[in-house]
Subunit: 207 residues, 4 copies
DNA sequence: CATGAATGAGATTTCATTCAT
DNA sequence: AATGAATGAAATCTCATTCAT
């Protein structure tokens, strides 16, 4: 089985490198990270990285794409949201988003890297929009329309910008990025967020 | 007038450098920015930068501190909020925050740099918290308590985390950072944000 | 043989660099020597030096230590001096010292560098004292005492400062340093030196 | 008298700079010394140095020449040595040399600088030979011949290399340079030196 | 005479990338 | 596949020198 396990080790090598790259890049940023550090973290030498990746830029891009892949697979599909009330769907969508952010070790840091490198890696931002932000916005728009149509939400709900509803999540992430340890607990914030959104869409009026 | 102009040039030099530094740092990030580029932007040589700043690190830190100074001067003071309803104060605080973000050429980018460099320039993050975020949170907390006490807000309002109320602003900034040009217009978003907050604090109940 | 030659080249590289460093440092002094020059002398590029040495300072220190090592190995040991007359031992010690100075290509120049950099590389001076000067002084002291005890030397000999006996050697080196080509021939000077020392320790009195 | 004192200050300026230059150059060596440091020591700015000296090189050379001038003035002239015994002249010459070395604050350090910069400032070494070492050697040669002629010294004395007689002084300086604080007291060493030289020239024979 | 801002050449050091083994 | 020695381009920083005031 040595042959098999050796093959397995080789198979795992690129992933190991990507994970080490993630750690180093998120610690120091793209430019300040040295390939030496990444290699050392994996326990190989610099040259080995070039066996698997064309160059530093490719390594970075691949890392972002590869490590944010799982999230894309668990994206809310519109179909999943059917068969329940719009409110329930809303709650599920937000809860799912927080789950991912709080539990996935990569999402926050990758978002941070995208923010940091927005001018240098614009294609990654576009990817983020197309594969990640876009579908969520679409799902949210669908829910708002459905809720309004069924009278579950107030008449104004259909006109709400989906981004307004999602923005607290991003705000939460940012606070946690800039001032780690000073943001409110994730679960508490989620509860507040859901409560706020419920009030927002509810069929009540304000002065 | 030659004498005056030389003295004036000398007086203005540090500020010129800081502004050029801002442009370059926010374009490429701290590590990838070359002092050569900053110097070229000012129209001087590398050496001149070292006449005014000890090194690259100091230049960066000074730039962040200096260019975010105006904002600190326009911070909402608690006293200003007195003499008006809690709702009006809330609206004023949020409007003020948006004004600043939409009009100040620096704030968004500096926040982005803080996010990007959170591991490398932690002291700047602390500064941001103490001088910027802290006071706003305190003012907001005050407003919530006052509004609840006077019955203007619902009983639940006092317990709302101020950060929940502010988070959409940060979310807005982030979206604009990662996907420039895709965020909703600032004024429209502000209106939506204010409406949402009004509904949040209003004395109504939701299922 | 290719494998062998590459390994050999690698093995020899540090020593090559140290020798080139010696040439350049002794030509221009520590501060005025450029790593470029050292690299060019070896036939590699600047970067290669950093593969083997941490920085310029380390290179200098290592060079001094490494190239003065052979001398330490040929130091007079006290045991060698036994089994012969004190006078013979004295002559042997002095002759050995001249041999080394006249034949070793490094000693004079390294001493010169130590003199030049005494404020910048004090630890090297201490090394020189402990490993080099100290043992010779000790051996000389031993000889003086033995010669006095056996009556071979005059009674005053035991009180002679060993440094007085050795100082002409240092003086010779210095003259040769400052005015190369103007110092007397080494062999002639050694003969004169030995003669002077013999007269110094002899059991005669002077007015 | 303000005018006069101001003029005096101006007159003194070059000398002040030379002395500051001496301090800094002997602390760090030629290449590592910054004109800024010298200027700061005088209490002026870098530019002022250029008012009085053409460049760094000239400043260094002028400093060495100027600060070793007093010594040249007190050089032993052959005439002074006449009218006393050869032995007395010998003692006077050596004592004078030690006096100068022990008391003059510059001589040792300047010699050190000459040693350090022998390849870069060869003209200074030549100056040293012509103005300083040369005359002393000549005087010494004269004394040896005279002492031999009068029978005061042994017959072998005329053939002694003057440098052998002087070398302990240089050796003493070197030891004090490399290992400051470890050399014997100057007065004791002088006494030993004189005693050794007396024995050397005395009309005795050794086995 | 004195200043000190500005220069620009050059020095050390770093590091992504290559390639022979 | 993996290594690691070597490269060379580039980045930060220094400092002697100039010159307008």
């Amino acid at each position: 089985m040595t042959k098999g396990s050796r093959a397995a080790a080789k198979q795992a090598r690129p992933r190991e490198i990507l994970e080490a790259a993630f750690e180093e890049f998120s610690l120091r940023g793209y430019a300040a990270t040295r390939l030496d550090d990444i290699a050392a973290r994996v326990g190989v030498t610099k040259g080995t990285i070039y066996v698997y990746f064309e160059n530093k830029e490719t390594l970075f891009e691949t890392m972002v794409i590869e490590l944010s892949q799982p999230k894309l697979d668990t994206q809310p599909s519109l179909s999943v949201l059917q068969g329940q009330s719009a409110t329930a769907a809303l709650v599920q969508l937000l809860s799912g988003a927080y789950d991912e952010i709080l539990e996935d070790p990569y999402s926050r840091e990758i978002l941070r890297l995208l923010i940091a490198e927005k001018n240098t890696f614009q294609s990654l931002s576009r990817r983020f929009r197309d594969n990640f932000a876009g579908p969520i916005f679409a799902a949210l728009r669908e829910i708002l329309q459905k809720g309004t149509a069924t009278g579950e939400f107030g008449a104004h709900a259909a006109a709400i910008d989906p981004f307004l509803i999602l923005s607290p999540i991003l705000g939460y992430i940012v606070l946690d990025m800039v001032l780690p340890g000073e943001s409110p607990a994730g679960a508490a914030f989620l509860a507040g967020h859901i409560d706020m959104v419920k009030r927002l869409v509810a069929a009540t009026t304000v002065p």
